[in-house]
Symmetry: C2
Subunit: 467 residues, 2 copies
């Protein structure tokens, strides 16, 4: 479902850019097909649309030079971090130069007293957390994949523990970015808050490389919790599981993670990970705090599950036991294929107000059944965010059509419930067609920002919206 | 220190607008001098610059009609909530129509399950909290004054408990705004998070009425904590007090408030509120949680104060005792004048990374002494944000000049420490001249957004930046 047809640049535009890149950085410019294809190959089902060339940047100044070069020739630029995005974000439907930022992987500074750090865009979240561990600090945002922090900022990533720690929106303090005209900006200073002027940080977070290329990110850090407890609890119905999460949130219980796996997802995990969980909607929960506060949280959560007809509640604070309890959740992404070997998976996501979550999940399950499709459902239930991993045969046009119609209905269902067509995966190419329904008039103001910052539309064109 | 000279609109522009307003809404349009002056009279020292007319709006549709009318005639529009801003935000240096939103005071909806509510822009925070109390919910942002929620969104307000609950940036879910061309937009839906497109919500939060007029706000709510404990602890030095806050934050202690009053502020409070506190830097702290977790927080915080040479630590969970302990903090804003009766007060604010706070406060105290000025200091120390209430004689040009030079040095000192010229009061007219130093290049991109949304510069002109 690419949002725009492949439009190759005229040779006259791209050729001098590639020549200039090769002349200055022969070792770090590639037009090899394998390299180009690799840079359009993501974890998603979107058809790869490779760039004309890939440049491996090592400094912000180099990115700036390449942006100026491309701006002079009106050649598209696509920023590439770890290639883990899911909606065709790094495709090059109009060709152009992919700027691979993975070599910009320096941790520039850690200010432990301020609970901040600054990293180059190519640093991955696992790399950062390995670096921080000795100082008792961590960066909480965990989208699953070992994404780059620049990419996570660009897509406004979140994941399992956003319910407690927020998303990239709340955890990016400031950004350095190369703008479409080649100027380098720093969006904010390092204070925890500011009331000085427009929030350019939040404007670039989630802009998916369409307004500028993020080269450095200053992040908010958190202390590693003294005690981490994990728990799981099965429920007879999705409603009971959702109501448990709602009550816990209302009580102010600071759940670090609260994940819902539906019965089909549990079945997939049982097969894939050789488990014997009851195949019923199940909550996977994590608590962070001191021993004392975690004990209290667990007791309170247990009482809430009991009030909502929860089944046998299991929990542990010991690392091995925690891992075992959570194994089904950890393996969820990989397990789906056991349900239909050889199938293609679309991991789509929507987010609704939590009061509508049970209704949305239930309607979605019914829709899958009615469509002759199937796919497990996993939800970051504290945020009202859930994923459907639709399994389909990409070589069967009917199956593809059914999948597309289903994902469209899912997005529109979420929007109709005052939710969003994507809680965390972003728009990319895959969700462009829903923004009109989601934003109405407001979309025009997004377009206006894009047009004024990037009048030649060189920054990741063909993403988020058509101009 | 108004940012722009008073430029009256040509009569030809404003006259037909006033005629049209009077014709349609005779009861709700005023050109009376008292009404106009009232709408330029804030809690600040900025010289009032009244609008040409005041319109009392009752619906978003009316605001839309007035914006269209003014846009047709290129007449400025200034949104007015409760008039509690501090940097000349509601002044009308170019004349125009003030839209008073105080009658738009309906609480549109409360979704307790989702911990959200939607209010019209004129609802004040106290009004909202009175409404929510029975449901066990509250809206935490507390800038001191009983500001309107639309105004708080427009200025990105925060206050004493931002350290735990965040600022308006983190607590606004979505906005309805009338844009400069008269279109009404809704910036987002009600999901807790979204990765769909540019973050227009965060762009409008803090835009101070220069990009559009906020008419409705959807807010994130929180459960009223079961137990609230208050504590105070004196220190010999600012450094010890700041280090206590830093250690508490690093430990992950979820302080709900942590306020620093310096010795001069304590002296003012002792006189004003008839207290006998030791006149030394003092931390005022509040803890929220269950009895169990609050007890634990208090014990841990007490140990941290002891490690940092803290003096006698007093605390209580009983409401009357809590109020008594915190009385000095509550009265701080009113107490300053006892130090110099008849003086004018400038309440200025800056925010720095917390690791630089002690240094910044100490240098600022020295600067006050060197300048022959004096003013108490109060800090939201968990955020690195502090206020100086400079006392001066507004009829003495030398005193005014000293005060201006001091506030400029303070802003530049904060910026030099990787901080911001305003943590929570906003730019308005008072801080326009510092944004170049704070943002450099990035400021141009803010201007570009302003120009493309509001090419005729009708929305609160003369604020944040000159175009």
């Amino acid at each position: 479902m690419p949002g725009a047809p492949v439009v190759k640049l005229r040779e006259t535009a791209i050729a001098p850019v590639i020549d200039a890149l090769k002349a200055r950085w022969p070792e770090r410019t590639s037009v090899a097909e394998a390299v180009r294809l690799h840079h359009a190959n993501t974890l998603s089902w979107h058809r790869p649309q490779p760039p004309d060339a890939v440049f491996f940047a090592e400094t912000t100044a180099e990115v700036q030079d390449v942006v100026k070069l491309c701006a002079d020739h009106k050649v598209p630029l696509i920023a590439f971090g770890a290639g883990t995005s899911l909606e065709g974000h790094i495709n090059a439907p109009h060709g152009g130069v992919c700027i691979d930022l993975s070599r910009m992987n320096a941790i520039v500074s850690v200010e432990a007293e301020d609970l901040t750090c600054t990293v180059q865009a190519g640093v991955t979240r696992k790399q950062l957390n390995d670096h921080l561990r000795d100082q008792g600090l961590f960066f909480p945002i965990d989208p699953g994949a070992d994404a780059s922090l620049g990419g996570m900022a660009a897509t406004r990533a979140s994941g399992t523990n956003a319910v407690r720690y927020g998303t990239m929106r709340e955890n990016v303090v400031a950004l350095t970015a190369v703008m479409p005209d080649g100027r380098v900006i720093r969006t904010a200073r390092r204070a925890r808050k500011s009331a000085a002027g427009y929030d350019l940080t939040r404007l670039l977070v989630g802009s998916e490389g369409t307004l500028g290329i993020i080269t450095e990110v200053t992040l908010r850090l958190h202390g590693i919790p003294e005690v981490i407890a994990a728990a799981i609890c099965p429920f007879s119905t999705i409603e009971d599981a959702c109501n448990t999460a709602i009550m816990a949130m209302q009580t102010g219980l600071p759940l670090a993670r609260v994940e819902l796996l539906n019965e089909l997802q549990i079945r997939a995990c049982n097969i894939y990970s050789k488990l014997t969980l009851a195949e019923t909607p199940t909550l996977f929960v994590e608590f962070h705090g001191s021993q004392n506060t975690v004990d209290e949280q667990v007791a309170l959560f247990k009482a809430i599950t009991a009030d909502n007809n929860g089944g046998e509640f299991q929990w542990s604070t010991r690392p091995e036991e925690r891992s075992k309890l959570w194994q089904a959740r950890h393996d969820a992404a990989y397990s789906c294929l056991v349900l239909r070997p050889g199938a293609q998976v679309v991991a789509t996501d929507v987010c609704v107000p939590i009061s509508r979550l049970a209704e949305c999940v239930t309607a979605t399950k019914q829709d899958l059944a009615d469509s002759g499709l199937f796919g497990p459902i996993v939800g970051h239930v504290g945020d009202g965010n859930f994923h459907v991993a639709v399994l389909f045969n990409r070589d069967d046009p009917d199956d593809v059509a059914r999948m597309k119609a289903f994902t469209e209905r899912l997005a529109m269902r979420a929007i109709a419930m005052d939710g969003t067509c994507t809680g965390e995966h972003g728009v990319g190419q895959g969700k462009m067609s829903y923004l009109d329904a989601e934003y109405g008039n407001a979309l025009d103001f997004m377009r206006q920002i894009k047009r004024t910052f990037d009048p030649d539309n060189i920054m990741n064109p063909g993403k988020i919206f058509t101009l």
